[in-house]
C-alpha cells in the first residue's frame, strides 16, 4: 500500500498541487482523472521524483519513501516524449531491460509484451519515426520491462485508436492481475471508467474524489442531490 499525504507543488504563485492525499493499492488499476491543467502530470512527476515537490510525504507500507528511493516503487512514463529518437525500438527495449535492471525474464515474457502491444513490425524502426500511438505502445512496453511495482502512465491511451485502446486496456488489466499496479492518468473519462478499478479525481490541484465508481457516484449524488450513474456526471458534480 502506498499512501500519498499532503503533496504540494507551486510554480511561483500558481498552485499546481495543493495538499493532495490518496492511496495506491497493490495490484489495482487506479485512474487519475482531471481536466487539462488540473495537475495530473505534476502529480506523477513529483511521485516519480523527477520534479521536486514543495511538501508532503509518500509512505510505502507506512514508511516514508524518500525521493532518491522512489524508483524502487514507481516508474513514470511521461506523455508526449520521444526518447532516444535515433535509436531502434528493438535496442530501446533491450536498453530499458538492461539499464533499469528489470527482473530476469525469459525472451518469452519480453516477447509476450511485444506481441501484446503489436510491436513486432516496429522493432527495426527508429523511435523518432513512430507515430504518437506507436510511440505510446513502445513506452508502455518499456515501462512494463522495468522492475518498479507501480507504473505511472501519463495518458496511456492518447494517440491510440479505439481498437488499440480496448486491446491495450485489456492487456494492462491482465498485467495488473499478475501483480503490477497501474496508475493511469486519463482525460477520456469513458476509457477510465472502462479500465480502472478505482479513481482519483483531481481538479485545480486538489483531490475532489477518490474511490471506486460506486463510491464516487454516491458521493456525487450527495453533492448534486440527484441520481448519478456514470463517472462523467460524477466527475462534473465533484469538480
Amino acid at each position: 500500500m502506498i499512501q500519498i499525504s499532503h503533496l504540494a507543488k507551486r510554480y511561483g504563485h500558481v498552485t499546481a498541487l495543493g495538499d493532495v492525499s490518496f492511496s495506491i493499492r497493490p495490484g489495482e488499476v487506479l485512474g487519475l482523472i482531471g481536466p487539462n491543467g488540473s495537475g495530473k502530470t505534476t502529480l506523477f512527476e513529483c511521485l516519480a521524483g523527477v520534479l521536486p515537490a514543495d511538501g508532503g510525504v509518500v509512505l510505502r507500507n507506512g514508511q516514508p519513501l524518500p525521493v532518491h528511493d522512489r524508483s524502487s516503487a514507481f516508474f513514470y512514463l511521461p506523455d508526449g516524449i520521444a526518447p532516444w529518437p535515433q535509436q531502434k525500438v528493438r535496442w530501446v527495449l533491450e536498453f530499458a531491460k538492461g539499464f533499469f535492471e528489470g527482473r530476469p525474464r525469459g525472451p518469452a515474457e519480453a516477447g509476450h509484451y511485444v506481441q501484446t502491444f503489436d510491436l513486432e513490425p516496429l522493432l527495426d524502426a527508429r523511435i523518432g519515426e513512430l507515430s504518437k500511438g506507436q510511440r505510446k505502445r513502445v513506452l508502455l512496453v518499456l515501462g512494463l520491462l522495468t522492475p518498479a511495482p507501480v507504473l505511472l502512465a501519463d495518458e496511456p491511451f492518447d494517440g491510440l485508436d479505439l481498437k488499440q485502446t480496448r486491446e491495450i486496456g485489456a492487456a494492462l488489466r491482465s498485467f495488473a492481475r499478475d501483480g503490477r499496479t497501474l496508475f493511469l492518468s486519463i482525460h477520456q473519462i469513458g476509457d477510465a471508467a472502462r479500465f480502472c478499478d478505482r479513481f482519483v479525481l483531481l481538479s485545480g490541484g486538489h483531490v475532489c474524489g477518490e474511490g471506486t465508481l460506486d463510491e464516487i457516484t454516491r458521493r456525487a449524488e450527495t453533492v448534486r442531490h440527484a441520481r448519478t450513474d456514470n463517472l462523467e456526471d460524477a466527475f462534473l458534480a465533484l469538480t
Binding site: 512527476e45 516519480a48 521524483g49 523527477v50 520534479l51 521536486p52 525521493v67 532518491h68 528511493d69 522512489r70 524508483s71 524502487s72 514507481f74 516508474f75 513514470y76 512514463l77 511521461p78 508526449g80 516524449i81 520521444a82 526518447p83 532516444w84 529518437p85 535515433q86 535509436q87 531502434k88 535496442w91 533491450e94 536498453f95 538492461g98 539499464f99 533499469f100 535492471e101 525469459g106 525472451p107 527508429r126 518499456l142 522495468t146 518498479a148
Partner: protein, 441 residues
C-alpha cells in the same frame, strides 16, 4: 539473452549510440580533416622553403624545430575545432536527453548524477580522440617525408589538446545542463570562450594581474603545450575546471532536486574550485619536453642559477605592449622563473603602449636586485639577463658549449597531403557515417 551487464555499461553504450547518431560529431570529424590539412600543408611548405636555404646555423636552429614549425600550426586546427565544433557535439549529447524526454526516464534509475555525466564525458573523450586522428595522420605523412619526430614533444602537444578538449566538454556540459535549450547553452559556451580571449587581450594591454589570470586561459595553456612546456599548476587548474564543470553539469541534471538546492550546491562547487585554483597557483614544478629546450636556459646555466639562493627582484620599466617586454618575458624571464624559484618580477609603466614614455629617463630600464646589490641594463636577451645575474651573484658564468640544437631541416613539399586531408579523410568520414548510422543506430 545478453549476459548481465552493469547499468553504467548500458548507459555508456547508449551515449556512444547517441554520439554516432549525432550529426554534429560527424560534421566535426568531416571538418577537422581539411582544417588540419590547411595548417599542415602550409606549415610543411614554409618549413621546406626555410630548409631549402641549405640547412641552418646555430642561433636560428629554433626555426627548424618540427614542434614550432610543423606541429604547433598543424595541431592549432584542433584548437579551432575545440572552440567552435566540439561544444556543439557536447551540448547535443547533454541537451538531447532533456529535449527528447529521455532524461526523465533515465533519472528514474538510482544512479548518481556524477556517474551519468561521467558516461557522457567518457564518450566525448572518445569522440575527441577520434577527431585527433586527423593530426596524427599528419604525423604519419611527416614521417613518410623523412621528417624528424621527437616523441616527448608530440605527446605533450597531444596532452595539451586533450586537456583543452576536456575544458570545452566540461564547460559545454555545464551550460547544457543549466540551460533549458541547447541554443542558450551554445551561446553561453561561446560567451565564456570569447570571454577568455578578452582576458588575453586585456592582459596584453594592461598587464599586471590580468597577465597572471591570462596564463590560465585555454589559449595560453595550449600555447604552452605547443611549446613543449608542461606546467603542473596549469595542468592542475585545468583539471579543477574540468571537474567543477562536470560537477555543475551533474548537479543540474537532477531535475528532481529543488532549484534552490541545486544553485547552492553549484555555488559550493564553484567556491571549492576557486579555492583549489588559488592553491594551485602556488605550485611551481614544470617540465620542458621540447627537443630544443626552448623553454629553458642551457643546462650549464640552469645548474649555475640553482646555486644562487638569494631572492632575485627584477623591475622592468616596460609597458605591456612594448615588444621589448614580450622579448624579455619569452627569451629570459619565463625561463628564469623555471630555473630560480625565488624570482619576483615587477613591471612598471604609466601607459599600456609605452610610446609616450620613451622620453622618460627611466623608461626601458631593467633593474636587478640580488643580495642587496643592484644593477641595471636595457638589454632583453637571455645572455644579457644571465650575465647581469651572474655579476650580481658573483659567480662565474659556465663555459660555453657547442651543444646547440641545430634543428631538423627538411626541404620536401607536402606530397599527397592534399589528397589525404581534402579527399580521402572526408570520403572516409562520410562512408563511416553512412555505415555506422545505418548499421548500429
Amino acid at each position: 539473452m545478453r549476459s548481465r551487464r552493469s547499468p553504467f555499461s548500458w548507459l555508456l553504450e547508449k551515449e556512444a549510440r547517441e554520439l554516432f547518431a549525432s550529426r554534429s560529431w560527424w560534421v566535426m570529424l568531416l571538418v577537422i580533416g581539411p582544417l588540419v590539412g590547411v595548417s599542415f600543408i602550409s606549415a610543411v611548405r614554409t618549413y621546406a622553403e626555410a630548409s631549402g636555404l641549405n640547412g641552418t646555423a646555430a642561433g636560428v636552429g629554433e626555426a627548424f624545430s618540427p614542434l614550432v614549425g610543423v606541429w604547433a600550426p598543424t595541431f592549432s586546427a584542433c584548437e579551432i575545432a575545440a572552440a567552435f565544433l566540439l561544444p556543439f557535439v557536447a551540448i547535443r549529447l547533454v541537451s538531447g536527453d532533456r529535449q527528447s524526454g529521455a532524461l526523465k526516464l533515465e533519472l528514474q534509475h538510482p544512479m548518481t548524477a556524477l556517474a551519468r555525466i561521467s558516461a557522457k564525458a567518457l564518450v566525448l573523450l572518445g569522440a575527441w580522440l577520434a577527431a585527433i586522428a586527423a593530426p596524427l595522420l599528419a604525423v604519419v605523412l611527416w614521417r613518410a617525408y623523412g621528417g624528424s619526430l621527437y616523441g616527448p614533444e608530440l605527446w605533450t602537444i597531444l596532452a595539451g589538446h586533450i586537456l583543452n578538449a576536456g575544458l570545452t566538454v566540461a564547460l559545454a556540459a555545464a551550460t547544457a545542463s543549466l540551460a533549458e535549450h541547447p541554443s542558450t547553452a551554445a551561446i553561453l559556451t561561446l560567451t565564456v570562450t570569447v570571454g577568455t580571449w578578452i582576458v588575453n587581450f586585456i592582459a596584453a594591454v594592461q598587464g599586471g594581474v590580468w597577465d597572471r589570470i591570462a596564463a590560465y586561459t585555454p589559449t595560453a595553456m595550449v600555447a604552452q603545450f605547443q611549446h613543449g612546456l608542461v606546467r603542473l599548476d596549469v595542468v592542475l587548474i585545468a583539471l579543477t575546471f574540468v571537474g567543477a564543470g562536470l560537477a555543475i553539469a551533474a548537479t543540474w541534471m537532477r531535475l528532481g532536486v529543488a532549484i534552490r538546492r541545486r544553485a547552492s550546491e553549484s555555488f559550493a562547487v564553484a567556491a571549492l574550485a576557486g579555492a583549489l585554483v588559488t592553491a594551485c597557483t602556488f605550485v611551481t614544478p614544470s617540465w620542458d619536453w621540447s627537443e630544443n629546450r626552448m623553454n629553458s636556459f642551457p643546462e650549464a646555466d640552469e645548474a649555475t642559477l640553482k646555486q644562487i639562493h638569494g631572492p632575485l627582484r627584477i623591475e622592468a620599466h616596460l609597458a605591456p605592449e612594448d615588444p621589448r617586454r614580450a622579448d624579455l618575458e619569452r627569451r629570459a624571464l619565463s625561463k628564469l622563473r623555471r630555473a630560480m624559484p625565488r624570482v619576483q618580477v615587477d613591471y612598471v609603466s604609466a601607459t599600456s603602449i609605452g610610446l609616450f614614455e620613451q622620453t622618460s629617463a627611466h623608461y626601458g630600464e631593467i633593474w636587478y636586485e640580488l643580495n642587496g646589490k643592484r644593477a641595471m641594463t636595457r638589454a632583453t636577451t637571455a645572455d644579457s639577463v644571465l650575465e647581469t645575474i651572474y655579476d650580481l651573484a658573483g659567480v662565474n658564468p659556465p663555459p660555453e658549449t657547442d651543444d646547440v640544437f641545430r634543428g631538423h631541416p627538411l626541404a620536401v613539399p607536402p606530397k599527397g597531403a592534399a589528397a589525404v586531408f581534402y579527399g580521402i579523410w572526408p570520403a572516409l568520414v562520410v562512408a563511416a557515417a553512412f555505415f555506422v548510422r545505418r548499421r548500429s543506430v
